[in-house]
Every structure is written in structure tokens, then in C-alpha cells.
Symmetry: C2
Subunit: 173 residues, 2 copies
């Protein structure tokens, strides 16, 4: 990939000379990425429902809690999952009712609620996570190891580009 | 890319010899793709709300209708957008109230409702679509033309892999 850097620089210049307003290439790229992500997400959602009778938001929330043995606040989870506090609270309520998540006041501040996985929740999550990993591998089985590495590099650039643009936009506003 | 095909074949064999159950690479790839897609979608959703006071589901529905001058049924839209009929109906109701979408019985079968953009809806959508294209180009500005082409090729393989796996899964079930 390194060898192609000078060409990238050249392309960037060419791009600057493009007819203004012609960004069909980037639009097509975005739509293709969105299709891939939507297909995988829909498949994972369906398999979680069929095999574990669990919704994707519940699985995603358990995945966050699994990474944090000391628990998290609703605000922290909401930020990580990029969804509203209200949505997190609804999902937490369901998981507490099923005995998979525990909710208790923080030791240092009783007004703050700390949520964490129960032992049963942790056990179930690990089984689901192993299946989830298998499903993803199955869905991406048509990619060689080389494809996976190439995509990882290209998507890292993509993520950096998005974050840079979001930062500039926030500053402009 | 063609020159690397034999290597791909070799990789596939290597992969078959991997420790079973080790699919961290594919999982990381999926999580990175999901992050990119979520970041772009969140940004588009926010800008549509701020600049046009419109929700993303309404924009997506208008985008489908714009491609079909003779209109579509709720079932057709629902299939294209991969969401439920009920959700489509809710979004359509809001757009009809705002005068952006028209809903009328099909000429050949009065029980079937055909939805289409009104002249006002079409005009507004074209303005929004031009902005949307600019936003995507801005978010992906860190990618060279070469990066865009590489990603298009890799995501085409990804989409084919997902569709193949979904087909096999459906046959197994």
C-alpha cells in the first residue's frame, strides 16, 4: 500500500480539478457501504431473535457492559452506543426484568445508577458473543485474508476522513 | 487487483487451516465498517434535521419515490427500504400531511394504494439530494480517487460474500 502514496497525492490534485458538484463516486461508495452494513445488521438481528429470543439493542447493551466489570452509568452506555438516554433506560428495564442486568445506586453518589451484567447475564452474553463471531465469519467467508487486511486499511482511512470532516464541520458551525 | 487472485486462493486454504473458532479479524472488520456507517448515518440524520427539518426515514422514502415517477405501493417501498409495512405507512402519513407525497388508489385495483412524490416533494427532494451528495463527499474527502476505487471493489466482494452466506443459510434452515 505504501508504494501507492505518491499516486494518491496525484489523485487528490486531479480531484480538485473535477467538475464542481460531481461527487457521484463518493455517493456510490457510501450507498454500497450502507448496503453491506444493513444486510449484516439485519441478518444478525434476525439470528439473535431466532436463536436467543433477544433484540439487537439488548445484545449491544450487554456487549458494552461485558467490557466494564465495575459497571457503567446510563449516560456512559448511551454515549458509547450513540443512542439517547431514554432508549438506554428502556432497554435496561427489560434486561433487569429478565435478571440479566443489575441496577444499583453508585457507592459514592446515591443519585447515580450503576448498571452491570449479573452472573447469568455474563454467562448468556459469552455464549451469544461466540455465536455472533461465527455468524460474522460466515457472512464474510467470501473474503480472503488479504481482502480483510485491505479493507481494514481502507476503512481506517475512511473513519479518519469522517472524523476529520465532523471536526471541521463542528468548528464552522 | 487481478494479479492477486492466485494469492487469494492460497489465503483461502491457509484460512481453512486456522485454529477453529478464531475469527477475530472478520469481527474487527465488521465493527470498523459498522462504526464508519454509524458515524456517516448519524451525521446525515443530524444535518437533515438541522437544515431541512426532516427525519432520515422521510428522506429515505422520498429517495425511493423519486426513482419511480409512476409511484410505488407500500409493499414495494417497504421491501426496498428493508423496513416493515407499518413503519412505511407511518412515514407516508407524515409526508402526505406536509403535501410532499400523494397517496391514491391504483387505477387497476382500488384496494391497492399508490404513493408518489408531489411536485413540491420532488422539488424539495432534489435540493436535499444535492446537499446530501455534498455532505457525503465532504465526509469522504480524506480518500483519494484510488482509495474510492479500491473500496468499491472490496465492498463489492463483501456484498457478494454476505448474499452468498445468506442464501446458504436460508437453504440450510
Amino acid at each position: 500500500m505504501r508504494a501507492s502514496l505518491p499516486l494518491n497525492e496525484f489523485d487528490r490534485e486531479t480531484k480538485a480539478n473535477e467538475r464542481p458538484g460531481d461527487h457521484k463516486g463518493e455517493l456510490r461508495l457510501w450507498l454500497r457501504m450502507l448496503t453491506c452494513a444493513t444486510l449484516i445488521e439485519r441478518e444478525v438481528r434476525q439470528r439473535l431473535r431466532e436463536e436467543f429470543q433477544i433484540t439487537l439493542p439488548r445484545f449491544d447493551l450487554m456487549a458494552q457492559l461485558e467490557k466494564s466489570p465495575t459497571g457503567m452509568t446510563v449516560g456512559e452506555v448511551s454515549q458509547r452506543l450513540m443512542v439517547s438516554n431514554g432508549n438506554v433506560t428502556t432497554v435496561v428495564t427489560g434486561l433487569v426484568e429478565e435478571g440479566l442486568v443489575d441496577k444499583r445506586p453508585a457507592p459514592h453518589d446515591k443519585r447515580v445508577q450503576i448498571i452491570s451484567l449479573t452472573a447469568a447475564g455474563r454467562k448468556l452474553f459469552r455464549i451469544m458473543a461466540a455465536c455472533h463471531e461465527e455468524w460474522i465469519a460466515e457472512l464474510l467467508a467470501g473474503l480472503s485474508d488479504e481482502d480483510v487486511v485491505l479493507l481494514m486499511i481502507q476503512l481506517k482511512k475512511t473513519k479518519a476522513s469522517i472524523q476529520q470532516a465532523m471536526k471541521s464541520h463542528a468548528t464552522d458551525a
